[in-house]
Subunit: 286 residues, 2 copies
C-alpha cells in the first residue's frame, strides 16, 4: 500500500534508507529533498532516490510516508510545518537519536484520527562521518531499529495501516525492531551511546592538545588508541542537537564517569583497582 | 649467530614471539618456561617452543638470548636472578609496557663489558585477553616494536652483536623498530595506551553498575559501545604492574581527562561544545 516515499534529508541515513528500500525490493517512487542540493544530487546518482523535490512539503503531501532523516531540531521544525498540510492518509517517521522531545511534539501535532500518524524511530546504525556519499544499502542489516511509539495514539485506520507497512519495510531492510518507552530510550542511550561519544570526544580533544604534535605519536599509538578515539571524528553538527535535547541524562552520565575515573586514579596502587577491573570484565562477559 | 633462545613466560606475547620467530625462519632451538606449566604445554603443542625448561635460569644460561615476556614485576625479579648467572655472551630482552623502572634495573645489573646485555623492548601489540592459546605468528606484523636502549651501554663485542641480531629478528617478525628514551616512552604511553585502557575500564565498570542488568542493553548498544568498552575485558593481572610502575604519569593523564569531561559537561548547551568537537576532529585527521 506504500507506493511513494519522501526522504527529507539525504545525508548518510536518508541516503542509506533509500538504498536499503531498493535493495529490499521497494518498487514505488522515492523522492528526496536536502537543504544542501549537492547532497540530493549525490543521493540521486547513487540510486537512493529517483527524483529531487523542489518543495519538501509538496513532496510529503504527494507521498504516503515521509522519512525525516535530519538533526533533531530540523526534525522538530518539519514536524511543525508538515502537521497542518498532511492528513489521516499520511505517515511521518524519523530517525532521530533522542526521542522524548520528538514524542512530545508527536502527541501535540499528530496521531489523532484526522491528522497524520507519526511513528518515532531510531535506527542504531551510523558511521563516524556523515554525508550521502557514505550511504550504504546494508547499513541497517543486523542493526536494531528502535521505535518509541505511543500505545495510546488514536489513528485513522488508513494511517494505522501505514505504520504497520513502514515497520514491515524496516524489517525488510534487515533491522531488528524493538519497541521502547521514549523516556527509557533517552535514559538508556545516554549511557550506551551518548556517554561513549562524549568520552571519545573529550579523550580525542585532550590527546590533540597533549600529544597531537608529537612526532612519535603515529608510531606509538596502537589499536587501543585508534578504537578509543574513532568517534572523535564525529561531527558537532549532529551531536549538538543530542546534547541539547538529552542534556540532563548526559550530564548525569558524564558526572558519574568523572567520579569513576577519579576513584580509579586514587586507587592505582590499592587492591580496589582489582575490583574495578573485575567489574569492567563482567560488563564484557555478558 | 643466535642459535638458542629462551622464552621466559609463554603467555600471549611469549607464545607469539616463538611462533613469529618460526614463521620468520628461525631454525635454532627455542626453549620455554612458564610459571603455570599448562601454558608451557600449550605453547609446546602450538610449536612456539620446542622444549620446556625445568629451570628458567639454566635455560637462560644455555641460550644466547632470553626473552622475558612477563608482567613488569616478574621481569624485574628475573633481571635480578639472571644477572649473576649470565655473562658477556648473553643477551636478555623484555616486552614490558613501562620502561623507566626496567631501564634503571638494566643499568644497575647489566650492560658492562663483563655482564650480559639487556635490551629493553616494548612491542605495541596485544589482545584484550591473554594466554598462550591466543598466540599468533602475525601479532607483530605491521606493529611497532619500541626499544628504549641506553646509548651509553658498555657491552662486550659479543653481546653487542647479540643486540644487533635480536633487532634483526624483531624486524624479520614484521615489526617496525623505533628507538625512544625510556622516560619519554613512559610519558607517551601514559597518554596513548594507559589512559585509553583505564578509561575503558572505568566506563565499562560504570556501565556494568548502571545498565549491566538492563534487558534492553543487548539491543540498544551498537558499535560505539562495543568499541569503547572492548578494553574493559583486559585483565587486572597485566595492568596492575603498569599502574604501579607508571603511576604519576597515569594519574596526571586521568586527572586531565576528568577535567576535560567536566568542561564538556558544563558546556553541553554552549558554543564551546563546537570547539571541543573540532579539537577532537583534528586529532583524528592527523
Amino acid at each position: 500500500m506504500i507506493s511513494r516515499i519522501a526522504i527529507l534529508g539525504t545525508g548518510l541515513l536518508g541516503t542509506s534508507v533509500g538504498l536499503a528500500l531498493r535493495a529490499a525490493g521497494f518498487k514505488g517512487g522515492i523522492t528526496g529533498w536536502n537543504r544542501s542540493p549537492e547532497h540530493g544530487q549525490v543521493a540521486l546518482k547513487m540510486g537512493a532516490i529517483d527524483s529531487i523535490a523542489a518543495d519538501p512539503l509538496e513532496a510529503a503531501r504527494a507521498s504516503q510516508v515521509s522519512v525525516l532523516s535530519l538533526p533533531i531540531y530540523s526534525t522538530l521544525d518539519f514536524m511543525e510545518k508538515l502537521a497542518p498540510v498532511l492528513g489521516s492518509e499520511h505517515l511521518v517517521t524519523d530517525v532521530g537519536s533522542t526521542k522524548r522531545i520528538i514524542c512530545e511534539a508527536a502527541s501535540r501535532l499528530y496521531n489523532t484520527p484526522e491528522r497524520a500518524a507519526f511513528l518515532p524511530g531510531h535506527p542504531m546504525a551510523g558511521k563516524e562521518r556523515g554525508g550521502a556519499l557514505l550511504g550504504d544499502a546494508n547499513l541497517f542489516r543486523g542493526a536494531v531499529w528502535l521505535f518509541t511509539d505511543d500505545p495510546e495514539a488514536q489513528r485513522s485506520p488508513h494511517s494505522a495501516e501505514l505504520v504497520k507497512g513502514w515497520r514491515q519495510w524496516v524489517a525488510a531492510m534487515g533491522s531488528k525492531i524493538i519497541d521502547l518507552d521514549p523516556v527509557r530510550h533517552d535514559e538508556l542511550v545516554a549511557w550506551v551511546s551518548h556517554l561513549p561519544q562524549f568520552t571519545a570526544t573529550a579523550l580525542s580533544a585532550l590527546l590533540e592538545d597533549e600529544v597531537g604534535g608529537a612526532p612519535e605519536l603515529k608510531d606509538v599509538g596502537g589499536r587501543a588508541l585508534r578504537e578509543m578515539t574513532r568517534l572523535g571524528a564525529s561531527p558537532y553538527s549532529m551531536w549538538r542537537d543530542i546534547a541539547h535535547t538529552n542534556t540532563e541524562a548526559v550530564e548525569s552520565a558524564l558526572l558519574a564517569l568523572e567520579q569513576r575515573l577519579a576513584y580509579l586514579r586514587e586507587n592505582l596502587r590499592t587492591p580496589e583497582l582489582r575490583d574495578e577491573f573485575e567489574q569492567a570484565n563482567k560488563f564484557r562477559r555478558e
